[in-house]
């Protein structure tokens, strides 16, 4: 690991977030739509072979933002088709992302039950 590698991670992650900020500031897209756009864009770019080079270059900078979620979904589906055939198209995406999705649902549910929303001041 060297400084150049860290700089690449920072730059790629920062630029993806910057694109999100520009969408928030300059378009009338709702946050939900922006999140959906990021995930689907990540999946489509992965299918086209355009996201993998970004992951190789920027590592966590490309996988931690939401397009990385789309990347894992698309990659999982395509890899599973290769090994399991047609059923892989149905199982691959969620299998690859199962840890994250399940963690978000389980921790999210428990935490939302424990804590109360802060009164808006």
């Amino acid at each position: 690991m060297d400084w150049m590698e860290i700089l690449k991670v920072f730059a790629v992650g920062g630029i993806i977030c910057l694109i999100g900020q520009l969408l928030i500031d300059y378009t009338k897209l709702t946050p939900a739509r922006i999140l959906v756009i990021f995930v689907t864009a990540g999946a489509v770019l992965t299918a086209l072979g355009l996201y993998e080079p970004l992951v190789t270059f920027g590592k966590s900078g490309a996988t931690v933002p939401l397009p990385g979620f789309g990347y894992n979904l698309a990659k999982g589906a395509m890899n599973a088709v290769q090994t399991d055939g047609l059923m892989g198209a149905l199982t691959g995406g969620i299998k690859e992302t199962a840890a994250g999705i399940t963690a978000a649902i389980f921790f999210g549910y428990v935490i939302a039950l424990i804590f109360d929303p802060k009164p808006k001041s």
């Binding site: 900020q21 520009l22 933002p65």
Partner: protein
Amino acid sequence: MKKSKNEKDAKKRYEKYVSGFTPSSRSVSNGIKAFAVGGALCTAAFLIQVFIQQSFGLENKEAGRIVTVGLIFTAQLLTGLGLYAPLAKFAGAGVIVPITGFANSMVATAMEFKSEGPVLGVGSKLFQLAGPVIVCGISVSVIIGLVYYVMGMFGLTLPWI
């Protein structure tokens, strides 16, 4: 007392004048904050992943998965404690676009509907924002898988898979 027409016009003109430069300068600082915080968050995730990989001798993928779960838990705990909203107010997309924003949206919407009960309130509103993301993401992945399967039937392969 009624405001004179002139006064109103002046007020309008001033607002127009102000709006001419205020949003753009705010957008520049928003952009810088999103870039810096988003980049820092990804860098922190990367460093933790490398540390886990080296200390436990794990594979790249496995370590990445642990970090993802850790980020999700941390973001949701901060949301529960009421600390995520101020963070998002400062960093904007810098903490919304990373997976932490997705995790935050689940707890934030679910907590608001506690009064409707643990099943229909919290249980369903967990997916108010996350639902569309999961539905669209998984649907696209199935379509991609199907297209890839059909391509394979015709002997077409993609060099990047």
